[in-house]
């Protein structure tokens, strides 16, 4: 094993096997040979996530087993003047886990235990590598769950949820990750451990917990998270409303909210989405619909029934051709299965897709969806809309084949215009995927230099030397790292 590793280590630095990379040697000494991979295959895979961004090349990939080992990695990286990029399941879509430059990558998948379920405080202390859905399964026996449910919840990790302040369909009523995390144990870039927030109602000092959540790995690495557990609602009603067009579906969304309801979730899928979902998931969506809304209300029996009746009435008044209420848990699961598998199912259309993520005011939904369709047509790109309509969180999927010349550029141009349309409508760059590499250079479209300066101050308070996930979120010159210099990796990966 040692022989293999030192050979791999030699490759990292492009040296001969007799002189292993001192960085790798230090990491191996601290973590043991099984927890450090420096071979080209491991580094190649750690250089990408679920996004289409992969500009840098991972350095050695570490698999720490404890907070102490994370501290050791941070200290060693600092000593060698190398940056550090944390990584969960790599399901992020903005390139947050795809390293720039050639940093040390810390894969947190090995730290995936539930440390403690504290029923009296309705929290659980968990390690960051725990899979989101696995957490809910582990507490299901107590009638509790973890509310944020990103579409990748079967694979994505709690650490990744914290880094991205992840949402999901049910965040409409329950709030995003930040509302469900009481405290985070964090290792800072100098190796120090600090607990942010706490189980008490009003922890003293600044809300550093809140500032850390959503910081996309730029403020430190979470090594333990106290997640709040939510009681399962006693009654859930899931409805599928089919419309002749997306505009009437969008109108329903505003009407439902204006009626004084906050449904658990409202998801909109356009005609092409319905077609592709039916092709793969057979969720029972009406294939001839111009758009469908998947609406879920929950609560106690009486209130859920009242809300369901109101939703059905409002949907019909806004032109729904049919509204189906799921009769049982199996039907409900099937309706959701279609929604949750929508993005991957798109690959049945084209080999590549770019899943966009912007937010607009609910009142602007219809107009922005139309503009998105027009933009896609103009660039000759297929667009499919599947999104969290209840909170105005658009997810246009641009499906394409990158093997066609000029296609990637056309998709990028369409993506940029979608951002501009969303911001002009009074929206935001990202609702849940984060900025990462994807939208970094669009940040100045939404924020002034002073705004960005303050964001960088926050980041530098945590990481003065900008060693954590450099080159992400903040554009030059508001980022302390020289982003241009990060793109070049040191030496050819496959050497």
């Amino acid at each position: 094993m040692t022989g293999l590793l030192s050979r791999a280590a030699g490759r990292v630095a492009g040296r001969r096997r007799s002189r292993p990379d001192p960085l790798v040697a230090d990491l191996v000494a601290a973590l043991g040979p099984d927890r450090v991979q420096a071979d080209a295959a491991a580094r190649y895979l750690a250089s990408r996530d679920a996004s289409i961004f992969s500009e840098g090349t991972a350095g050695p990939v570490c698999f720490p087993a404890s907070t102490e080992q994370v501290q050791a990695c941070m200290r060693i990286a600092a000593r060698h003047h190398r940056a550090v990029v944390p990584r969960g399941a790599g399901t992020g879509l903005s390139g947050g886990a795809a390293p720039l430059g050639s940093p040390v990558v810390l894969s947190m998948t090995g730290m995936n235990s539930v440390l403690e379920v504290d029923l009296d405080n309705r929290v659980a202390w968990v390690q960051p590598g725990l899979v989101n859905l696995e957490l809910s399964r582990r507490v299901a026996a107590h009638g509790l769950h973890f509310a944020p449910d990103p579409s990748s919840q079967q694979a994505c990790t709690i650490g990744g949820n914290v880094a991205n302040n992840s949402g999901g369909p049910h965040c409409l009523a329950y709030g995003v990750t930040s509302a469900h995390v009481a405290a985070v144990e964090v290792v800072l870039s100098d190796g120090e451990v600090v607990v942010l927030g706490g189980l008490e109602a009003e922890p003293g000092g600044y809300d550093l917990r809140g500032a850390f959540i959503g910081s996309e790995g730029l403020c430190g690495i979470a090594t333990a998270v106290a997640v709040r557990l939510t009681p399962n609602p006693p009654a859930v009603k899931t409805m599928l409303a089919a419309y002749p067009d997306a505009a009437s579906a969008a109108a329903t969304v505003g009407a439902v909210i204006a009626d004084g309801m906050v449904p658990a979730a409202i998801e909109l899928m356009d005609a092409r989405a319905v077609a592709v979902i039916e092709e793969f998931a057979r969720a029972g969506y009406p294939r001839d619909a111009g758009a469908v809304l998947l609406i879920e209300v929950d609560g106690m029996d009486g209130g859920a029934a009242i809300q369901a009746d109101r939703v059905v009435a409002i949907a019909s008044a806004n032109g729904a051709a049919s509204v189906r209420v799921a009769a049982d848990e199996a039907e409900r699961a099937r309706l959701w299965k279609g929604r949750k598998n929508a993005f991957g199912a798109v690959a049945n259309l084209e080999p590549d897709y770019y899943l966009h993520d912007t937010v607009v005011p609910r009142s602007k939904l219809a107009e922005v969806i139309e503009a998105v369709g027009e933009i896609a047509d103009r660039h000759g790109v297929s667009v499919i809309n599947v999104f969290h309509a209840g909170d105005g969180n658009l997810h246009p999927i641009l499906a394409y084949d990158s093997r066609i010349e000029g296609m990637t550029e056309r998709v990028a141009a369409a993506g940029e215009e979608i951002i501009e349309v969303s911001l002009a409508a009074g929206g935001a760059l990202s609702g849940e995927h984060g900025i990462g590499v994807e939208k970094r250079d669009h940040m100045d479209k939404m924020f002034s230099p002073a705004d960005l300066d303050h964001q960088n101050r926050l980041r530098q308070a945590f990481d003065p030397h900008c060693r954590m996930n450099p080159g992400k979120v903040l554009p030059s010159p508001h980022s302390c790292a020289d982003i241009a210099s990060l793109k070049a990796a040191d030496g050819a990966l496959w050497g």
């Binding site: 009296d120 405080n121 309705r122 965040c171 995003v176 930040s178 800072l188 451990v193 600090v194 607990v195 942010l196 189980l199 008490e200 109602a201 009003e202 003293g204 000092g205 600044y206 809300d207 550093l208 809140g210 500032a211 959503g214 910081s215 505003g254 909210i257 204006a258 004084g260 906050v262 609560g299 106690m300 029996d301 937010v359 005011p361 609910r362 009142s363 909170d391 002009a424 409508a425 009074g426 929206g427 935001a428 760059l429 990202s430 609702g431 939404m446 924020f447 002034s448 230099p449 002073a450 705004d451 300066d453 303050h454 964001q455 101050r457 926050l458 980041r459 308070a461 945590f462 003065p464």
Partner: protein, 321 residues
């Protein structure tokens, strides 16, 4: 003085450039780039975070509701507006916010202090109500944090840092808040001798559960049919009768939910009065909580935050959260 670049306001069409609100610009000018300055709202919670520097110039944020869109469930309001006035405007459309209502208490004050309403169990904490803030920084610039939408992960969450910062990061001039529908029914009931933990485990409509060591008060909130059903179930745990909520003692303790539910007068010297927020962890008591120790690492981070945002220490000197 440098103002933030003009940008589109919600509702503005493409290309429209809505400059910073005039009242906000005036507020920024008043704060200016130098000299100790202290922002004051209704002055309801100056018992928290230190007395403040009497030498500091006192400023007040402008008042008024700028834009309320019921179908968006958001409201844009100037920080000097009282929460009571704001809620009066919102009530016309059947909505409200999670901010606590105190006589003369302002939106900016509620955000800067960061203390949640006693109905936090149902309404959520104050920090989750702030979607976007425009504040004047130590250099006198207007800075925008967050986004004008109900959901946003564009960049770092400076809003969280502002809530509860007692004006030491920046002086909030304007806030975009999340609103919530006012439920069909809200009813306080009380039962002597009920077990607060069982009530928390049982009730599905409680927006607040208060306990003074002997009696439990529940604010049942929601659809009438649900409140009725819930109160019916609660009857198994105690003799719940309609009642006014208890008067809250003046001092605020911060505990974990579990320790608030097992609070006792022994922690107040044997004879103190308290009212605990069950499921939340705030305990209202007749004497102040002993000072809490922050870990050295957390203390160092707090210092670095303050140093980065207000290097000269001119914002609300003498106060620290």
């Amino acid at each position: 003085m440098e103002l933030t670049a003009p940008r589109a306001a919600p509702g503005a069409g493409p290309g429209a450039a809505a400059a910073v609100d005039e009242a906000l610009a005036e507020f920024a000018a008043e704060v200016g780039p130098s000299g100790p300055v202290c922002v004051r709202g209704g002055g309801t919670r100056w018992c928290q975070g230190g007395p403040g520097d009497p030498e500091a110039r006192v400023v007040a944020a402008p008042a008024g509701v700028i834009d309320f869109e019921p179908a968006e469930m958001t409201v844009r309001v100037r920080a000097g507006t009282t929460v009571a006035d704001l809620h009066q405007t919102l009530a016309a459309a059947g909505q409200r916010t999670a901010l606590p209502v105190r006589p003369s208490g302002t939106v900016g004050g509620a955000l800067a202090v960061g203390e949640s309403s006693p109905a936090r169990l149902g309404l959520g904490p104050v920090r989750d109500a702030l979607l976007q803030a425009r504040y004047v920084d130590a250099e006198g610039r207007v800075v925008t944090a967050g986004a004008p939408t109900v959901k946003n992960v564009s960049g770092f969450d400076l809003c969280k840092l502002l809530v509860g910062s007692l004006g030491t990061i920046g002086l909030i001039g304007e806030a975009l808040l999340r609103t919530r529908p006012i439920p069909q029914t809200e009813r306080w009931v009380r039962a002597a001798g009920a077990d607060p933990k069982s009530v928390l485990g049982q009730s599905r409509t409680a927006a607040s559960i208060l306990w003074d060591g002997s009696a439990v008060w529940v604010l049942a909130s929601g659809y009438e049919v649900d409140v009725e059903a819930d109160l019916g179930e609660l009857a198994g745990l105690g003799d719940f009768e309609p009642a006014d909520p208890p008067e809250l003692p003046p001092h605020r303790w911060s505990c974990s939910p579990a320790s608030a539910a097992s609070f006792g007068p022994e922690r107040l010297g044997g004879d103190g009065r308290f009212v605990a927020e069950i499921g939340v962890g705030v305990v209202h008591a007749d004497r102040p909580q002993p000072p809490r120790q922050m870990s050295p690492g957390a203390a160092r981070l707090n210092d670095q935050i303050k140093a980065r945002f207000d290097p000269t220490g001119r914002l609300n000197p003498g106060r620290r959260p």
